[in-house]
């Protein structure tokens, strides 16, 4: 039944957005995770890739997380000679996590999640209406 498929597609969309939100939480939680030894690399920001792929169980294309990767780019540095991860010049590498970018990502995930949820509700209303025709 196609409405049943629609429900599953929306659920897959919500699951993908939840994964994204989890990664945002991970990034924000590790905003200050520096390395442990002198000159060591700190936490690297993680990214989520979405892909449209075929779900063989239900025979339709749904969305899923293709992979959780890491963001390339330079680490910002901070002058803090007393820090255990400071290099010989006294600079500490800090994670390449930008709070503003993360917050924006979080907002977008939230928006897409509620879009999927409202499709789910509409689909449910359609199914309920079809069931009522049996009475």
């Amino acid at each position: 039944m196609d409405l049943d498929r629609a429900l599953r597609i929306s659920a897959a969309g919500m699951a993908a957005q939840s994964t994204r939100l989890r990664v945002v939480a991970e990034n924000l939680a590790n905003r200050d995770s520096t390395g442990e030894s002198p000159g060591a690399d700190p936490y690297r920001r993680r990214t989520v890739d979405f892909a449209n792929r075929l779900d063989r169980a239900i025979g339709v294309e749904t969305v899923g997380v293709a992979r959780v990767g890491t963001a390339r780019g330079e680490f910002p540095t901070r002058y803090d000679p007393g820090h255990p991860a400071a290099d010989e010049n006294g600079y500490v590498k800090t994670p390449n996590v930008d709070s503003l970018v993360e917050v924006m990502d979080m907002r977008e995930a939230q928006r897409s999640y509620s879009a999927n949820l409202s499709v789910l509700e509409t689909t449910r209303a359609m199914i309920t209406r079809a069931i009522e025709a049996l009475r």
Binding site: M1, D2, L3, A6, I9, G13, S112, A115, M126
Partner: protein, 129 residues
């Protein structure tokens, strides 16, 4: 005349409901992929066009064990050519446009359901229930 499938109100309502079911599934797919890089929104061929092509050739089922050809009903969801804005990652889904279509599908579903129900009511009246 009454035997023509397109003129029988019940059969027509059923076709419409079937089309709307499929469309809802396509729209759900579009919204689920609202953040997928390179994804283009899909839509079904309009219902009117589908009715015109009602007599298209289906796969023959010469034995009861043959699976019904689902290819015909699956393939007519195609990527739209006229899209609005495209994000830098190549995604062309516009959530408000999709939301509008979902609302449209929901309303049309209610209408088709009401037609179906009132015709069934006539049968019930005839049966004296």
């Amino acid at each position: 005349m009454a035997s023509s499938p397109t003129l029988n109100p019940l059969a027509l309502a059923e076709r419409r409901l079937h089309w709307l079911d499929r469309r809802q599934s396509v729209l759900a797919q579009n919204i689920a992929n609202a953040d997928t890089p390179g994804y283009r929104p899909h839509d079904l061929t309009p219902f009117r066009r589908e009715l015109e092509g009602a007599s298209r050739i289906a796969l023959a089922r010469t034995q009861a064990t043959h699976a019904a050809g689902s290819a015909a009903s699956r393939t007519n969801a195609r990527a739209e050519r006229a899209v609005g804005e495209v994000t830098p990652d190549g995604n062309a889904v516009s959530l408000d446009r999709e939301a509008m279509r979902v609302a449209e599908t929901d309303t049309a579903h209610a209408v088709a359901m009401a037609i179906h129900r009132s015709f069934m009511g006539m049968f019930r009246t005839t049966l004296g229930r």
